[in-house]
Assembly symmetry: C2
Homo-oligomer: 329 residues x 2
DNA sequence: GTGAAAGCGCTAACAG
DNA sequence: CTGTTAGCGCTTTCAC
């Protein structure tokens, strides 16, 4: 910038003004400066610009639990859209469901002076973020609430979704319902389980521990769990799957056996409508989840001082698949 | 940092040394400094640290064409893994197949002083990046090559994949093969089309323009294209789909009609194995694509001076789906 | 081992 | 309208 200034025969500050498109600069000087910029191959250093106190880096961080799950991808896509509309970039990172990684990532991003952080929390204790929040980093949690920390959270109605899913199964005559959940250390899984049990209890159905498998991470885990439950003396006639991965695995195993078993899953996935057999899915508006979180984050970045709130988005039951059954030749 | 120094009764530089874990500092001073840091709630400003010339921001940028497509998600996931192993963060952004957005994003990221850039190019002219590369930003293109610029590119063997796909269809007796391609302004689509035509020509089959639809962006576009081709007087008995989206749409339409039509698609997708009818897919190792690109980028960041090269990853034909047909009750 | 001074590239504040 | 001065938070000389 110094070089440009001397080459153009103006002061540093004038170059700065030109680069920042300040309107009150003489046309001639502007042209001269641009000529020197081109000639010298000058590039503005955005990082130095954001160094001056108070200035924003115009970056937000997004920490999800698993980049390759389409649920988080859709979320990220919605966040990115809101950010781009505001001229912010998104640094995306994945905690892989590991609290230590989450912590390291969050602190790293804060060191990089992000203006805000959207986190799908994995850790059981987020007090480590308190200091950062006190220093002015906006933090919004999404899909799961924080613990040990008062912060905004955008969630879906996990209990309600599970409740109505099980209610529907019961209405269809099912009384033995297998429950496939990922690790119960995950908030959403505990909530969904609670909702399911609620509905069972309301119908006067005993909670049989043999019909719950947790720690189901992958489609293969789900297939194994389904297999062992179907081999019980008194097997389930329906399954509730805690997330899209387990839904896929459960479907595979059920079809493999040719068994006539009802399946309700959580979290929609691309192609669910192509499934050859009817599946009911507890659908939430993932894009809205991301949009809400990003909007709340920017409200905070803009200085919103209101008390942090939890926000619950509704779910609904949707019937997917099945129609293609008629077709294949 | 100044405050910490005076609180601890040491110089600025000593604090800097402690924060950066320089070993040659007196234990007592280290403890004192840490105490003051905790007391004052000091946080290191990573951005200021990277301001000094030559210092790296330890960030790379990743620009893909569409965040919500699982193909790019897998790619991104692989890139992120390599980056994390090196302590780099990834800024991810999507060009939405718009050259202008791509350009703006790339320049923005360069202004943010990323050490390198991995780009799935959309634009037809990447000379705008030459200046940045001259200034030391490493750039690697992936999935598609750059134009107007000499740079590393990691690609898959699109022509070869399309060639063997069509060859297989011909071997199975098909002579009328419908081609569904996204916009032919996209490199991969031109290559795949060329490979397909090659195989047709080699078998002495005339290239019928009625059997090509391009500009197929979405599953619905694909379904429409399939519909109109199947309504031809002399309809195709097979389809080659240029990407996973069009494969999905083509499958839908074919099943809807109950038609007995062979389908070969490009790019695998999660759940393809759950499909109720056999589909052949031209599969490439997407994770390897991302890994290779990231590794080459870090080689460049580390100062590798060798001539930029193009790298071609192989594809293979895989049969997916079909097995479930037996099962549904 | 430790510290003082200079400066990274830029911008805010105030003059001129 | 333009230039000068100071300083963001840190690190790097180079003395002590």
């Amino acid at each position: 910038m110094n070089d440009v200034a001397s080459d153009a025969g103006v002061s540093l500050k004038t170059v700065s003004r030109v680069v920042n498109a300040v309107p009150t600069v003489d046309r001639d000087l502007v042209d001269k400066v641009f000529a020197s910029i081109k000639k010298l191959g000058y590039r503005r250093n955005g990082i130095a610009a954001s160094l001056r106190a108070g200035s924003e880096t115009r970056m937000i961080g997004l920490i999800t639990a698993d980049v390759s799950n389409s649920f988080y991808t859709e979320l990220a896509s919605a966040v990115a859209k809101v950010a781009r509309a505001r001229g912010f970039q998104v640094i995306m990172a994945s905690s892989e469901e590991d609290p230590e990684i989450e912590r390291a990532l969050a602190l790293d991003l804060c060191q990089r002076q992000v203006s805000g952080l959207i986190v799908v929390p994995t850790s059981a204790d987020h007090r480590y973020l308190q200091a950062e929040m006190d220093l002015g980093v906006a933090v919004v949690f999404v899909d799961r609430p924080a613990s040990g920390l008062t912060a905004d959270a955008i969630l879906i109605d996990n209990q309600g979704g599970a409740h109505s899913a099980v209610e529907r199964l019961i209405a269809n005559g099912h009384r033995r319902i297998g429950l496939l959940m990922d690790s119960l250390s995950i908030y959403t899984m505990r909530e969904r389980l609670a909702g399911a049990r609620d509905a069972l209890a309301a119908a006067g159905i005993d909670d049989d521990p043999a019909l719950l498998v947790d720690g189901v991470h992958s489609p293969d885990d789900a297939a194994n769990a389904v297999r062992s439950m179907l081999d019980l003396a008194d097997p389930p006639t329906a399954f509730l799957c805690g997330n899209n991965r387990s839904t896929i695995g459960a479907l595979e195993e059920v079809w493999r056996r040719g068994a006539s078993i009802a399946i309700v899953g959580f979290d929609d996935f691309e192609m669910s409508r192509l499934l050859p057999q009817p599946v009911t899915i507890v659908v939430s508006d993932t894009a809205a989840l991301g949009t809400r979180a990003a909007e709340r984050l920017f409200d905070r970045i803009d200085g919103l001082a209101a008390e942090p709130t939890g926000h619950l988005l509704p779910t609904r039951l949707v019937d997917r698949g099945g129609s293609r059954l008629l077709a294949p030749s």
